[in-house]
Symmetry: C2
Subunit: 211 residues, 2 copies
DNA sequence: ACACGGTTTAAACGTTTGTTTAAATCATGT
DNA sequence: ACATGATTTAAACAAACGTTTAAACCGTGT
């Protein structure tokens, strides 16, 4: 009990601080103080700062990617059974929707959303490499599915557009509140489902644009 | 001569290291060592690490934004004189093209491109706040111009889509080389002008999508 | 009651951080 | 040639970093 409790409290505190300040700018002392545990607990339970970051990622990324993969395969096989080419928008939805829906799981998960969004932007190194290691298989699967859904695009163009999409997604994910400079009197607190459709409007149009 | 030389060498080294490792992960000792100057020179010439970062930004951001603003006003007034509504793609081009063209100015400017791309992603704090301070006026101007060019969009939707665009831009700017995980045998070394058009294809289609 | 392995604790480890100091060096104008 | 102000230098500063240590603590099974 004590063990799980301590580990969980460290994970929660680290998730919040990593998301808000970044990996390098967050000290173990700040994390353990916020978690109310001893400084050495991080090295005892996670082997060090780097192991802690990986654990923070894994805790939520594993079920998230499992959900994404499951939905993707469902869309693909449903299309295949009815002899259709799967729609680009539906493929994207399997990747995008679980991400946005994380925000509805409470403030803790929202921190994770910002953290993931930031991992794609942090300098090459620890956070990026850890994240890529756990995302690469899913991304390759997605790339392949999109290539079949958009045969008119060259592989290079599709690859570029997929990265435009990833950039847009990671940016909007790390700007959960008023991080972005809103010009004046604009309400940006959309429901997650609305946000998903807004995002799909933009990105499917971009992906399907005639080259 | 000695002064300018020292300041310039510090700026170049800082630009490169900040871009590659991030602000917090780069030490003044690494910068001064790479620049071949004394450690104290940073505090003497720039007042500290934060002042150095601001100087790195300002050196290139000022002429860059001046160029962007000049082109934007040119497009707007040309459209107004001929009684047309300025095209969305041309408005975007004034903002996007000078950014991509920086990559043709040599490896040094390329580091700056990555640095700017990263500033939009770094944790809230020093780099982000410095960057926003120098970008806000231009972004408001751009937002206004797009609102006129896309009257069918609600202010909230336009605002969201503009952020999708900024996210895509900053992402592709910080992934200059093989930072992104390319699946297999895909050549992504596009010429800047090709990249601009690819980016405009994607983002104009996204912005103009029917809501 | 006792012993034992897992856990927590306080303290210290050696490094590295950004910044400061005071002396040395340089360039420049008279 | 000399004096003056700007620049560079080496050295040191306190503070904070991630990590390690050894002792104290805890619950559990015998």
């Amino acid at each position: 009990m004590g063990q799980l409790d301590t580990k969980q409290r460290i994970l929660n505190a680290a998730e919040q601080l990593f998301a808000r300040q970044g990996y390098h700018a967050t000290s173990l002392r700040a994390i353990t103080a916020a978690a109310g545990v001893n400084l050495a607990a991080v090295n005892y339970h996670f082997g060090g700062k780097e192991g802690l970051l990986e654990a923070v990622f894994l805790r939520r990324l594993e079920p998230l990617n499992a959900s994404r993969l499951e939905q993707l395969e469902a869309v693909l096989s449903a299309a295949e059974q009815s002899g259709r080419i799967p729609e680009c928008r539906e493929i994207l939805r399997t990747f995008v929707a679980p991400t946005f829906r994380l925000r509805d799981l409470g403030a803790e998960a929202e921190n994770f959303v910002a953290l993931v969004g930031r991992a794609l932007a942090e300098p090459r190194g620890v956070p990026m490499s850890i994240f890529v290691r756990h995302m690469a298989p899913l991304l390759e699967r997605l790339h392949l599915a999109l290539a079949r859904s958009l045969p008119q695009l060259s592989r290079e163009t599709l690859f570029l557009r997929l990265h435009f999409l990833i950039g847009a997604l990671s940016h909007i994910m790390r700007c959960n509140e008023k991080c972005m400079m809103v010009p004046e009197g604009i309400e940006v607190d959309r429901k997650s489902e609305e946000l998903i459709e807004e995002f799909l409007d933009f990105t499917t149009a971009g992906l399907e644009a005639t080259p």
